[in-house]
Subunit: 473 residues, 2 copies
């Protein structure tokens, strides 16, 4: 996948990295939506790919990637006949004098990234060469990545191109340490064996890496995390082991981290509690990005910089997407008057630092994955017993959040489904990470005067339940 971030654009084609945690149906929807012509498949996901393309009228050509130092040979390919090419053979046959095909315009698309594994309305974020170029430079400067770093790929490349680090790390002559499975002992071994200097990941990754590990790192490892900041206890534990944490905020639509919690040297003299509060803020716009603002949804005006007045976070800069593929309505809703409307809610502090107060109302972030609550609700509503359904985030020690469903059942049922049955039902119809981990049955869902379900009420209820995991212990 790392090599293909270069090979595909250099051959004049457009990238689409597919989340390997998706199910075959969702994969087929994405392949159809972006009209994939060629699909490179890691041997571990060969069955998934074969199942996905069965559902397509015009299936892409499959290329099998078998060779792997990490023991990919162990994996089985159920139906080898579906694969037209072997990646390693293709590479061997390659023309070393091939003159790479440059884009005609810097505004030409280089990649389409799907923001969530939705089946009804895939959101394909399209970025151009120019935007990716600026974001790649920006990502090096903001994180102060030196020459010849050793980068470990805990953040998947299918996740918004790993925030542009495939290109950025190449630009400074870095070494890439890749891995298929996320296992804390494996990662610690790789850090030790390869002298890893840099890695990215959701706060949950940091939590897993430090929860059961006591041995300090031999040399500092720079860890960049984005979105919600790690809980203070995780932060302190990670720092005591030798991780150097940087923290920022970005979206698939911005191609990478464009808000950075830039640390001021004088803050080192503040009490620990003040430092923790400052570290919890998402930060200021990076140097490659033009502007970040928070606007009042009603008036469209900038909110007061008082750290309290909430509004929608809006942005503009070189790395904002061109738009959503085949979705002019969604694009127009999101890109207005030269600004990108994130859907996230935040405040601006007096010193210009942004702090996110609430993620977009429809999104649950679980283990670094975005889950659209609307999509999960749509599936719940297909259950014959369900009257109303609303899905919100429930806090989780390990995953940050998990989907939590509130359901009211139809009147007069002879048999009411159990929580376990509802979860089973969802498992059959969506990727596993999207499945609600909790289902709460209510006689009736709360309503506003205009008949809408006020999610903040449900969120409060979910918050009061505490961590999914803890409540089950």
């Amino acid at each position: 996948m790392y090599e293909l971030q270069f090979a595909v654009p250099m051959s004049g084609a457009i990238l689409n990295n597919i989340n390997t945690r998706l199910d075959a149906t969702t994969v087929s929807v994405l392949l159809r939506h972006c009209e994939s012509k060629l699909l490179f498949v890691d041997v571990f996901y060969s069955d998934l790919a074969v199942e996905a393309i069965k559902k397509l009228d015009k299936p892409p050509i499959l290329v099998l990637i078998e060779e792997d130092e990490e023991g990919g040979d162990g994996a089985d390919v159920a139906d080898r006949s579906k694969f037209c090419y072997s990646y390693s053979v293709l590479v061997e046959r390659g023309d070393p004098d091939f003159n790479w095909i440059r884009p005609e315009s810097e505004w030409d698309p280089i990649v389409v990234n799907y923001t969530s594994g939705t089946t009804s309305s895939p959101k394909g974020v399209v970025h151009c060469h120019r935007g990716i170029f600026v974001m790649s430079l920006d990502s090096l400067i903001d994180w102060t990545v030196p020459k010849n770093p050793v980068y470990l790929w805990t953040l998947p490349i299918f996740h918004a191109n790993g925030w542009c680090y495939p290109w950025a790390i190449a630009a400074v002559g870095g070494t890439n340490v890749c891995l298929r499975k996320f296992q804390a002992p494996l990662i610690h071994r790789l850090i030790r064996d390869h002298g890893v200097t840099h890695m990215c990941g959701a706060p949950v990754v940091l939590n897993m890496l430090t929860a059961t590990h006591e041995e300090p790192l031999k040399s500092p490892v720079h860890f960049l995390t984005a979105g919600s900041s790690p809980p203070v206890t995780v932060l302190l534990r990670a720092e005591s082991l030798g991780f150097v944490i940087s923290h920022g905020y970005g979206l698939t639509e911005t191609a990478g981290v464009v808000v950075s919690c830039a640390w001021k040297p004088q803050w080192n003299r503040l009490p620990a509690s003040d430092q923790a509060r400052l570290k919890g803020r998402q930060g200021v716009g990076t140097v490659g990005f033009t502007e970040i603002d928070v606007v009042d949804p009603a008036s469209g005006r900038s909110v007061e910089r008082d750290g309290a007045t909430m509004g929608e976070i809006v942005m503009r800069g070189s790395s904002v997407m061109l738009g959503y593929l085949k979705d002019p309505v969604g694009t127009r809703k999101t890109l207005k008057n030269g600004w990108f409307f994130t859907g996230d809610v935040g405040v601006l502090h007096g010193d210009g630092y942004l702090e996110i107060k609430d993620r977009s109302k429809d999104v649950i972030i679980t283990g670094g994955e975005n889950v659209s609550s609307v999509e999960v609700e749509a599936v719940l509503y297909t259950h014959s017993a369900v009257n109303e359904a609303a899905v919100v985030a429930r806090p989780d020690e390990q995953w940050g959040e998990t989907p939590c469903a509130f359901v009211s059942l139809k009147p007069g049922l002879t048999r009411k489904p159990t929580e376990k049955e509802m979860i089973e039902y969802c498992r059959e119809k969506m990727p596993r990470y999207m499945v609600p981990k909790t289902v709460v049955f209510l006689d009736e869902l709360p309503k506003t005067s205009t008949g809408k379900i006020p999610k903040f009420v449900l969120k409060e209820m979910a918050n009061k339940m505490g961590s999914t995991r803890l409540s089950r212990l």
Copy 2:
């Protein structure tokens, strides 16, 4: 001058930083050529500015910069009535809520930089916001400038905007240590007092800083130099004191260093002589720049990458100038088919590294300043006794090169001018650094079959004379 790199573009105006080593006539020529409307003058150069604008029909408004921590108050202003404003008063009266004026297009000009102090045909290199932006990011990445560096301004800002570091250093929250005069003890004091981490300069600066200084630096100082690489003895001496030397190549037309001698870790295992050879090469294109090539002047084709076949260095990338101000012919000669023709001669090695073999035939680089030999010759030709004149570079231990004039006199003169008289004559007519330090009288200058003066023959003669300085001891 540092503040003005921001204030001028943010007010919607275009920058023109004037070399303070120029004489009043040259300054007036540049001010007229770029139609300056406002001239900010450091108190130390007030007389120069007043003299310069006397020569103009439409003189710019003068603003006097007096306040200075470094004791600028000691300087005299001969004619204070010529100054309409005081800079500090203007700043005090400024509107803190002023909304800075953004360029309408990223291609709008931000700066015009004159490449040499020429009087007959000023070359005003015009750069746009976009080019300066990309070069500023690039300059941080290639030199791995961390957050909050402490930067010492030995490289003048009037020198191609100090290779874009005014903006780059601001982008990473750096501290700027400024100074008026170049004195080795002062610089060493500033490094010590302010904890300087980064500085730029010509190799001659490094030479001066290390020639008489024996005390190692308290902490490493990163020193970026460009053009010719420092002589090995200087390099070793500087490194032993604690300077960390980076080396690259760029031109006023590229806005900064766009070729960088990127060091490969495996080269550390090579013998010192091999390392010195590798360090002498200018390097590879930086990440923000598109392409560097060396082409055969006759065929226009890329030369063999054999480290031996010479050709003209050509480049393309975001930070190549828009063109020369009011000089469409010069611009067309220099920007052809999307490439910038540098006029410099180089070779490409097998590993893609560029090495400069000869600077442009018309340019002498003395103490980091470009001197056009053609311009000096034009002045020599105005002397009533001169028949022919040709100026080439003579090696110099301190300045790198100095202008060396070869002159043949008119026949039948009753009194022949002396070397000293010729030098005096030049001093009255050009900035001091352009004045030939050596004048060699020949009965006749060598000629090719087509009647041209073969400068390489004269260069060989100048080389054989050895360093200007040594030959005078």
